[in-house]
């Protein structure tokens, strides 16, 4: 099976994630869509790694996972405290940071 198909899948996943970030209001869903985009990237990296026959792509994928894990911790904490104070997880409700 050609590695190019993995790239198509990665592009598809990334697009789904991006559209999800843009159109969904629920912070948890937005967050999951971000994770989806990250994993789409990981898939592309691993696919390229396979195509080029070296391990650089895979190493970067590991880094991405580590960063994503850290991000989840911080992000979920923010969402929880946001929900506590506003009783809603909608990202549009949290629109106080404006001029």
């Amino acid at each position: 099976m050609s590695p190019v198909n993995y790239l198509y899948l990665a592009a598809l996943l990334f697009t789904i994630g991006a559209v999800g970030v843009l159109i969904r209001r629920n912070a948890i869903v937005v967050f999951m869509c971000i994770e989806l985009m990250l994993n789409a990237c990981n898939l592309a990296l691993v696919a390229f790694s396979r195509m080029h026959g070296n391990l650089d792509g895979q190493i970067i994928a590991f880094f991405t996972m580590v960063v994503a894990a850290a991000e989840v911790v911080v992000g979920l904490a923010i969402i929880v405290s946001l929900f506590r104070s506003r009783h809603s997880a909608s990202v549009d409700d949290a629109s106080l940071m404006k001029l």
Partner: protein, 631 residues
């Protein structure tokens, strides 16, 4: 002997310090202290003079280095004095006339409760003026120059409770400032050109300098001289300066300070000799002022202002002579000295008349005073004969020499200058005869003063008449004494140099012409003011008379050109500032503000709209990158 030079300045300076800081306990004795110290300065001057006479002509200059004033690498300013024949002449004139006027002031200011302060200022003036003439560099001269300006300001405004006096003092100070700027620029030019401002090095290295620089220095020195000596175009302050007490007018605004400009030009002779254009400017200023002052003097009814016009005119003669170069330097100084005698005498006489006439200054309210004030009449009369150049008296010798020198300039210039000087002599005879006739002859036109008291003219006390008598002696004999055997010429020639010039007509012809125009002037004045009664209220007069009464419109000119012009200039500058400068600054601020007002809308707080711009931006970047690749 040279150690005495500093004492010349120190004596009056000490007097000024003691009198001005001493307080009221000196009120009863202060004037004596001031007079004694002025006299002490005169005695020191005479001692130095006798010592100087004992040496040969080339060995007469004395130098004294007191201390380093500003000792900086490359900028050496010293308090150092130079006493040569030129300075000596001034020292004797200043201290001699100054002492006489101190004596005169004792009685003249007797009823003034601020007499002590007056003497303090007079001593301050003497110190500054002496410093000016014995300085051995231009910077120290400038110090003295500013000092006499300050003393002049303080003394013109001595009766500061009168608004006119306070204004006149301010006017004199401000107009002088314009001239002082000229002197300071000249000194800076000298420093950048020669690297020093001591007389010796500056004047001896003139030969190695370009004419353009020398012309610039010369013109700036001329500007300075115009301010201090009340020459056109900076002449307007002198008439108003007569608001000061009469001894001040006699000492500062007739005999000494106003001649500082002549001193400056003669002292800087080497510079002017090498810059013919600057010299031409000097003679033009002299010739114009000579006629200007004389015409103003003809129309004034205020005795002191008539004399002020005359001072301006006589200094015009001196500046004219100084502008002639080596032909005229000696005679400029000679006229300066004789003028110091007779003009101081005339002013003291005018003061004596005012003293007896309840401080009335309008000559139309005098008349017939000769029998009431015989001493004043005789001394004033001798001063009068001297100033119009009556043969045999001081003014005759000195003024005649200047007219001869003007002709000796040669060419068309010589004829024009000589003609102007002759015309000036005629007008001088006219206005001085007018003053004489209106004051001492004719019927009594006395008017009661403000309190209704009719004046009781009386002769002034001895301490006023004695200085007048001494000055009258000077007015009569000084010119003859100087001229016999060319004494004054031989005395000053080592310092100023001398050149005969090319006289197109003989000296005897010039002298004859001078006497003829003199008689014409006297006759005209007699026909107008001696033969007919003088009206108490001034007639309307011709256009020229009215203009001359208003000082030939000099104040109007200054008002229209300088005041109005300055106002228009500031107004247009303010307009440009408001529209252009503020417009650019405010416009920049407004457009940045408006732009950010629009940009601010992007910051709406919706995380998803930020995400759109992020994705959009990324998409654009990728599209651009791909397009670039394709191309």
């Amino acid at each position: 002997m040279e150690n005495l030079i500093a004492l010349l300045v120190a004596a009056p300076l000490l007097g000024a310090a003691v009198l001005l800081c001493g307080g009221r306990r000196l009120d009863r004795s202060g004037h004596w202290l001031g007079t004694v110290l002025a006299a002490a300065s005169f005695v020191i001057g005479v001692v130095l003079f006798l010592d100087m006479l004992g040496r040969s002509a080339d060995d007469r200059a004395l130098h004294q280095h007191l201390f380093s004033w500003i000792p900086v690498e490359g900028f050496q300013a010293d308090i150092a004095f130079q006493l040569d024949q030129l300075s000596m002449t001034f020292v004797l004139l200043i201290t001699g006339v100054g002492t006489l006027i101190h004596v005169y002031s004792i009685a003249y200011m007797e009823h003034d409760e601020r007499r002590r302060r007056f003497f303090g200022y007079l001593n301050l003036f003497l110190a500054a003026m002496l410093l000016l003439v014995i300085a051995d560099n231009y910077l120290l001269l400038y110090f003295g120059w500013e000092g006499v300006g300050l003393a002049s300001y303080l003394l013109i405004g001595f009766w500061q409770h009168k608004p006119s006096a306070a204004t006149a003092a301010k006017k004199a100070f401000l107009v002088n400032r314009v001239g002082d700027i000229g002197l300071s620029i000249a000194i800076m030019l000298m420093f950048t050109t020669f690297g020093t401002f001591a007389f010796g090095p500056v004047l001896s290295s003139v030969g190695e300098t370009g004419e353009g620089t020398l012309t610039a220095i010369g013109l700036m020195l001329l500007l300075a001289a115009c301010g201090k000596s009340a020459q056109v175009p900076l002449q307007s302050w002198l008439g108003d300066a007569m608001e000061g007490p009469t001894p001040v007018s006699a000492l500062i605004h007739a005999a000494t300070m106003v001649t500082a400009g002549v001193y400056l030009i003669v002292r800087s002779g080497a510079i002017f000799n090498a810059a013919p254009n600057a010299q031409l400017a000097v003679v033009v200023v002299g010739a114009v002022t000579l006629l200007f002052g004389a015409i103003v003097g003809c129309a004034k009814d205020d005795i002191k202002k008539a004399l002020a016009g005359s001072t301006m005119s006589q200094i015009g003669y001196m500046i004219l002579a100084a502008g002639l170069g080596p032909i005229g330097y000696v005679f400029a100084i000679m006229h300066l000295v004789t003028h110091g005698f007779f003009k101081a005498g005339l002013f003291l006489g005018a003061g004596s008349v005012m003293h007896g006439m309840n401080d009335e200054v309008d000559m139309r309210k005098y008349g017939g005073l000769r029998t009431y004030m015989p001493v004043t009449f005789v001394t004033f009369g001798l001063g009068y004969l001297a100033i119009i150049g009556f043969p045999g008296l001081s003014g005759f010798f000195s003024k005649d020499k200047i007219i001869e020198s003007a002709f000796a300039k040669g060419g068309a210039e010589g004829w024009i200058l000589g003609g102007v000087a002759l015309l000036g002599a005629a007008i001088t005879a006219f206005y001085m005869t007018r003053v004489m006739l209106m004051t001492f002859f004719g019927e009594k036109r006395w008017q009661p003063d403000a309190e209704g008291q009719p004046p009781h003219p009386h002769e002034s006390p001895k301490s006023m008449t004695i200085p007048m008598v001494i000055l009258a002696f000077g007015s009569v004999f000084a010119g003859g004494f100087f001229s016999i055997g060319d004494r004054f010429l031989n005395w000053l020639e080592p310092v100023t140099g001398y050149d005969h010039g090319h006289a197109p007509i003989s000296a005897a012809t010039v002298t004859g012409a001078t006497v003829v125009v003199l008689l014409i002037g006297v006759f005209l004045a007699w026909a107008m003011y001696g033969r007919r009664p003088v009206p108490v209220t001034a007639p309307r007069g011709s256009l020229l008379t009215r203009a001359a009464r208003r000082d030939l419109l000099q104040d109007d000119f200054n008002h229209v050109v300088l005041v109005r012009g300055g106002e228009h200039l500031t107004r247009s500058l303010v307009y440009v500032d408001h529209t252009l400068v503020d417009g650019v600054v405010n416009g920049t601020a407004a457009s940045v503000g408006g732009l950010s007002g629009r940009l601010r809308k992007l910051q709406n707080g919706y995380a998803r709209s930020y995400a759109v711009s992020m994705f959009g931006g990324t998409a654009v970047l990728i599209a651009v990158t791909l397009l670039m690749r394709a191309v």
